[in-house]
Assembly symmetry: C2
Homo-oligomer: 397 residues x 2
Amino acid sequence: MEARKPEVLCIGFGALGTIYSLLLSRGGASITAVARSNYTTLTTTGIDIASAKYGDIPNWKPDRCVRESEPDTAQDRYYDYVLCTFKNVPDHKRASEIIRPFLKAPCGEEQKLPTIVLLQNGVGIEEEVSKALVEGEERLASGIISAVAWIGANLVDGGKKVTHGALERLQMGTYPIQANEQQKAALVEFTRIYTNGGGGGTAVQDIETIRWQKVLWNAAWGGLSTLARQPVSALLDEETLHYSIGVVRRIMLEIVYVARACGISEERFPMASVDQAVNITVATSPVAAVNDASKGGNLAAHFKPSILLDLENGRPMELEPIIGNVVARAREHDVDTPRLDLILAALKPNQVDAIRRADGDRVEKRGVSTTFSQLTATSRGNWPAGAPVSKDSRTYL
Amino acid sequence: MEARKPEVLCIGFGALGTIYSLLLSRGGASITAVARSNYTTLTTTGIDIASAKYGDIPNWKPDRCVRESEPDTAQDRYYDYVLCTFKNVPDHKRASEIIRPFLKAPCGEEQKLPTIVLLQNGVGIEEEVSKALVEGEERLASGIISAVAWIGANLVDGGKKVTHGALERLQMGTYPIQANEQQKAALVEFTRIYTNGGGGGTAVQDIETIRWQKVLWNAAWGGLSTLARQPVSALLDEETLHYSIGVVRRIMLEIVYVARACGISEERFPMASVDQAVNITVATSPVAAVNDASKGGNLAAHFKPSILLDLENGRPMELEPIIGNVVARAREHDVDTPRLDLILAALKPNQVDAIRRADGDRVEKRGVSTTFSQLTATSRGNWPAGAPVSKDSRTYL
């Protein structure tokens, strides 16, 4: 219908950025990739894609490439969509701060502000971006599509190759769930481009619930596996399963209780999601008594969650989106989350180290609005938002 | 009074074994050391002791030395005391199994069975030894002294040197607390030898409570530091303290609740022990608002608990004495311990690996009486003792 190709800016050109850019490109979009270390690969030889679902695609290139360090070069046009596949570490750098420098400021009649597509893990990640880029005075985007990917893909060979399995399912919805006609249309159009390109996912009415469902697995099986510094499969052995399973189930229950306190009903997020998220993983256990192929568990033998991979490599983890945001909501609504609090407290020292390293060891405090030393000894109840302690000064110390 | 020197067998000749053998030797005892890797050092050059409290003692040797691999050679006599300073990992090898091979069987009139001195961390460690060696049919010991050491000592230079700080305090009591006159006398005599040798500790009426008090610190600050794989000091920073402190305090509360359920009253184990064990560590924090020299916190800057050191070195941890035994008692008495369960579940995979390695990768199952595969799918509620899950089949899966 339109002669003009939809323009897509993809920030964060790792495995997910590559696969989804490929699909959108095949669906008719023009892709501008924001690259960091793989700029040269993307602009010379291209990247090799080896996908069980889409076949081998050697030397694939996006339509054009800009350097992360030169964001101005991306500001020559208005994009239809800004696909965010970068790692979301708001306690290091807010997503809006990462996105903003690439966007063209509104100017006269020709302006067509982009829809931001947040293709990242966690709950509650949309709010900050919406406030800063959509609702704020300096409006740079027209709205947000929130998207959850169920996919196994990895960047290998020093960023020259992406390997991808057979699974690819993207679930997408508007943020907020009740959106205006313009944003509903943007979602329909984005879904059309993506499915035209071969994508296997769909637009959904209630993406918020799907985020909670994915966090259920990521925080519980993923959290325990990260504390153990072992693949999830190490929790499923004869000698470990009877220790892990009850703990994992109860972490999931904490998450459901927080979701309920946030107004997400049984109808939207059934309690049965917990057993499902426990069973689908237990089904892959080598323990004969619980192994159940019919449940469709398809965990890779030595699968490690992304939080653990980041931890092992000394990189900042997506700790706030996956665990911290749940804990912050629990505190808001006075829900007890003893296990999530413990996971967060145990990983926080490593997160602090990783963020310092990422900043070149400059000790900067971000994200935490009140630091401990600003508190007086008698006002210790005044903890930073999200701190997993009671705000009641009588009970925390 | 007696011409005969008291005979002490010391099993586990690491830093603690060396220091306490030194003190008992100075107090008039004859020491037989059971050595493993440091046999040659102990029988040739001797071991160098560098102690802030006792000074520099070069080339110290016990009276005689036997090899751990040749336990028969220790059976030429009855000992007055068997000092157990080996690492206590009952899920690998029960303490009684380690002690038994060195002891002379009862024989005729001359028999004088030894008192076992358990100088190890944890709660509930006496029961197994008592049942197997004191109360059992094959009686090899007359009773048990339970002892808790407050000391900082390390084996360095490949086992050739022991470094020791200024702190040395041993608290000792009979097991059970109500003991017969013979065992009371054995405690008095042991305390006399130890204090004559320069030891700074005392006999106490209620050693059980002191074990719980030490576990309070070891399981809470030690547990969280181990999950973080960071020294305790890393939990005390500006950016981490408000995450760790509430969690640590609540782990301690779980321990007090379990102790209460086990019949240990407020009078014996006051709730104020929790604030004390929190505050004494927080007082060493670099955070100005909470640092308090008057509280006497004296944590070394990069102090790591022994569980963490073992974990980092791939060795079996004292997980059962310090955490597992508390959790097992919690299950017996239906006390909720969400945080301790999580710590246990998160460390169990590493413990299983370490025990396999210690066994030369032979996959043997010890300690767990029921393995998972012996359960049928319909009897999943029948968990092994100590497993941190509810026994109620409706709630765990």
